[in-house]
Amino acid sequence: MLIYSLKRFGVAILVTFAVSVITFVLLHASGDPAMAMAGEGATQEDIEYVREHFGFNRPMLVQYIDWFVRALQGDFGISIYLKIPVAEVIAAKAPITAILGASALTFALLISIPLGVLAAMKPNTIFDRIALTIAVIGQAMPTFWFALLMMIFFGITLRILPVSGNTTWQHFVMPSIALGYYAMPAIMRLTRAGMIEVLSSDYIRTARAKGLRPRTVLFKHALRNAIIPVVSLSAVQLGFMLGGSIIIETIFSLKGLGNLAWQSIQRSDFDVMQALVLSIAMFYILLTYLADLLNAFLDPRIRVS
């Protein structure tokens, strides 16, 4: 178990490193940081000066190593637009995205797990069909469009929720639903498939033969086993949600990391973009790592061996 988690940790570090290299190369090959830094209307001379002064004329490998050494010390550069250290900017915006991600995942789990369980208990009934239809529709809805439709309905027609900003908890309701809805179909389907498989297993028949109450059979014996793969999927989905937050935060004007990413892209703020991709990737890697550990904890076949 210890060796397993150490091995997984090693891979996680390597993946983080690889992401940082790829992002650095991608960004620097796609655009010119010197031009971005010099700003609009800068002359060729200004740009050349910036390139020289900040070392953008060095080979990319040297630039990367330079960035990497500083990053190891917690220095991710300075936002060229905001003129403050990137780490500070990210730390300031992260809580909003964290709240959004957590509430979106909670919403998705609260809807999709019960739905998946109910669909599995009564397969091929009207109920199952409704659940599957919701999943199929959910998968086909563009997130941003769903968000706009909600804005029109809840914000304008019903006037019960604010459409932009992040000052009260009500501001987080629609963004969380919009972001969480995206993860629902996959979680619902996996819960349903897992429950159907588990419910037809021999040990559930045993549990019933033991005369346990139906809810004990369902929750203690069935759900506990069906939920194990859902844990991993939820981690992956939360990671994807952070990526998707760029759209949702932009639409609802939530001033979190997604919004910061969107603004940095428009301002060609290289260091912020690099750090954002890296931190979202790191968070994803951390999540999947934790999910693996949680899996091992939930499944005695991995835990005790």
């Binding site: 297993s201 021999d202 040990y203 028949r205 045993t206 549990a207 019933r208 033969a209 033991k210 005369g211 346990l212 109450r213 139906p214 004990t216 203690k220 014996h221 506990r224 086993n225 939930l298 499944d299 005695p300 076949r301 005790v304 061996s305």
Partner: protein, 339 residues
Amino acid sequence: MTALFEVKNLTIDIPVPSGMLHAVRGISFEAMRGETLCIVGESGCGKSLTSLAMMDLLPTMAIRNAEKMTFQGQDMRSFSEHQMSDIRGSQMGMIFQEPMTSLNPSYSIGDQLTEMLIRHKNASRAEARERAIYLLEKVGITAAASRLNQYPHQLSGGLRQRVMIAMMLMCDPALIIADEPTTALDVTIQAQILLLLAELQKEFDMGLILITHDLGVVARVADRVAVMYAGEIVEAGTAEEIFNRPTHPYTQGLLDCIPIPGKTARGAKLGAIPGIVPSLVGVIEGCSFRERCKYASDACAKPGIELVPVSGIVEEHVTHDYRCVLSADQCVENLAGNA
């Protein structure tokens, strides 16, 4: 003596795309306290479904019907799922065929044993634990106390089946149903488990219904035997009668398939029953075994062949019924002529 469990004219139907599958076609039997009843038959003859029907654990699409179905004198047909779950495990236990998959992989042995006593007898955790240790020792598991913290995947198939048996004994049930409990185990383990079951049945004075296709097993433990073929009981009686005077051609065929040390000559041909079990979809007119029976005649195709007592050749207090158009004497003569 009143029967512990009694069923009359039990039928189990399963709708399939091509029609209605009549898996069990009107069988009747009873189980007594302190007695082992063996239900014997080939795969697909409906014996496992019968056992599930007794526990009301049939798959949802299966339709169960019976003229009479009582457990300790109570009519089981009117039981709600809630009432059924009170009886299951506490008064009526069941042991399944697949020990490898019949225990929940996520919970420790101790948890799975104790939860029954906590559920049915309101026992405290400590009491339940104590009884679990006692029973694990009873079923021949060493270091019982430390086993409680182990998980199913850490135990071998034989051990898991022992745990399963201990689990079903937790609430001291009146009746245990064992559905091919040794089929999935190594041959060396099979005998141990069976003898254990037989011993425990005597010790706790329970009724035991043992479902099997293995006549060798039956010969060792059965008090009474019911032979099933294509969803019907074709012959039933005391074990002694069935083994000494097999009457139905199918029973004779089955017995002919197993070698008996000392009796069967080295190199002698073992019997085999030609043909396959008929399709159970739709109605079967007449004897279901006639396609494979070497004594079959036109009379066998006529409907209404009932299970009747083998008269004349048995003493009065010994039951022995068979389902064949031939007279019992004729059947026995056939067997003698064959040998």
